[in-house]
Symmetry: C2
Subunit: 347 residues, 2 copies
DNA sequence: CTGAAAGCGCTAACAA
DNA sequence: TTGTTAGCGCTTTCAG
């Protein structure tokens, strides 16, 4: 059975498609007799009409759809996606997710299977995608906003500054009496200029402490677990781990547990991002919390303003991620420490 | 600057739009001279062309876009969304996320801001949405597949059977020596016929044990934490908690920790869904694992088959979620138990 | 208040 | 091998 179209409704009520359109979009509300309007609304409901948004977008140039470009929908990224949905809900916008990062050949991608025609694009933690797009798009005007700790300055952006938080973390650890403070990061975090690593190194220099960097292949729990597990087999001297993100912190935590060591007494751990898990760990994990709600709201506002006025000067937003101190980095006197028992595991 | 269209390219190379279309879609590859093809491809690249998918969809009736209807993008749902993206990646499909559950007035929703015209719809854990859609759509033929532990039989489905897993959980706890086994659930889980609750009650009857149900407002960590925290202030007699999902298990775990009790010695905990967090908790959490990869693959196959042949008989898939035993439900002899210390918290 | 006509950008049949 | 034509479903002047 064919989908019901405007024309069908027009026929049904003996009016023209134009009139039906006016009623159904609400655009000509005052120009249509109440009677006609009622008949049309009624028929539309009865016949189960729903507009073809592709057709509408084709003529209006508006899709009421925005894209989220992200590498995955896991971990912290899924939290952003979820929050963005919350921001969108009051509007009539929908969100299409494109995992654009995995398409290395941008030109081919755009030509073969271009993304949906959206009214705006939020790019999460992927300045490469932004810049590849800007180049390929050559003056196309779909608003695009670069969001996250990794962002591009070539377009509107909502940047997250992690460096203050990392500095706070290092200083906090020193205040707690830790001295051998290592940075657990991943290959990605080793790229030149990485904010986290740089801030860590700078803070250590500031405090006259030797920097030590532990590098895992990827920033996942599993990779962190393996790296720390291996290190713990040899002589492990770090007293504290400033981790690239919460995922790595959780993996490292597990490795420390398995080795029969105690967090935070033997090893302190801090994460980054502020995923909910850090709050519910038996030993809550100190982390550097990204203000996700603010980030998403700002991104949305950027897009809407840009849509209104393409000539607007570059919109630059910077939000700070701040340290949230929890038990995983708080050295307490023995009598203060309640222990929560938990079987380790032997493998 | 206007977007580059087919016509622009046609003009540029002195050919007709039809020819350009043939080349760019690859559909008429053999019917076009190599020379013309090269020229077109070249111009398209040079001019930064990318097709208007709305226009294409309008004429072909294919959008190469599927929708995921879900309540949120958090917790377990985000894992499914992420996996679905993985399944989609090799295809040329994109995914639009609609949080359709929060639109109670379906008719209004469809008429005012209908969702994108997609080639298929995956509905996660929301039979109401499926049925509202089927009713509102009246014979429209967008393939729709109902997925999850809550599903509708009125369309193709990939059902997750949790009951076997819940039964396994209860039996496992009894084998470990637990007797006072309560079910921690939420209002949602109290609706008549809920698979988890029903399976729990049945298993308890089977074993001649008294059922006890603890009900939180919602199935979140926070709500579980509060409910169990409150119960622990009074006389708490449950030795084991079979939780509605992993979120609640994690919340309950935290409450038990805070009270200075030990998991699993004082209280055993089992979750449901199999989110990654359960594997990385210092004390790994026993859970009932949903085979997410299988679920997503089957859903996708359902959609594609249905797209090929709308007359296909109803596709019914059932996958089982099975118990995965971890430390949170394993009673060990004291000398086996390594404890992992962790500061409790007083508030 | 209503409708006729044009056209958004693209594809598909058919003709040349 | 290429171009012409028609039209997908909708909105938008503009004329009635």
């Amino acid at each position: 059975m064919r989908r019901v179209t405007l024309r069908d409704i027009a026929q049904e009520v003996g009016r023209s498609p134009a009139t039906v359109s006016k009623v159904l979009t609400g655009r000509g509300d005052s120009l249509v007799s109440a009677e006609t309007r009622r008949a049309i609304l009624d028929a539309a409901r009865r016949m189960g009409y729903s507009p073809n948004l592709a057709a509408r977008a084709l003529v209006t140039g508006r899709s009421y759809c925005i894209a989220l470009w992200t590498e995955t929908l896991a971990d912290f990224h899924s939290i952003v996606a979820n929050q963005l949905m919350d921001v969108l809900r009051p509007s009539r916008y929908e969100m299409v997710i494109t995992d654009v990062v995995k398409h290395p050949d941008w030109h081919a991608y755009f030509q073969r299977s271009a993304p949906w025609p959206v009214d705006g694009i939020v790019v999460l933690d992927s300045p490469q995608s932004v810049e590849a797009y800007l180049e390929a798009a050559q003056g196309r005007t779909t608003p695009i906003v670069s969001v996250g700790a990794y962002y591009s300055e070539k377009t509107d952006y909502v940047a997250v500054d992690l460096s203050v938080g990392v500095r706070e973390a290092v200083h906090h650890l020193v205040e707690q009496g830790y001295r051998r403070i290592a940075h657990l990061t991943c290959r990605h975090g080793m790229r030149p200029g990485d904010a986290r690593r740089t801030a860590y190194e700078r803070a250590m220099v500031e405090l006259g402490l030797p920097a030590e960097i532990i590098i895992a292949e990827e920033s996942s729990r599993e990779h962190a677990l393996r790296v720390i597990r291996d290190l713990l087999r040899g002589p492990f001297t770090a007293e504290a781990l400033v981790c690239f993100n919460d995922e790595m912190a959780i993996g490292a935590y597990r490795a420390v547990c398995e080795a029969g060591l105690k967090v935070p007494d033997d090893v302190a751990i801090t994460g980054c991002d502020g995923i909910p898990d850090t709050r519910y760990f038996p030993c809550r994990i100190t982390t550097i919390e990204q203000p996700v709600e603010t980030i998403c709201r700002l991104a949305w506002e950027c897009l809407m303003r840009r849509l209104d006025d393409p000539e607007l000067p570059r919109q630059r937003n910077i939000v700070r991620a701040r340290l949230v101190v929890r038990e995983s980095s708080l050295r307490r006197s023995p009598q203060e420490t309640k222990t929560i028992p938990c079987p380790g595991e032997s493998s």
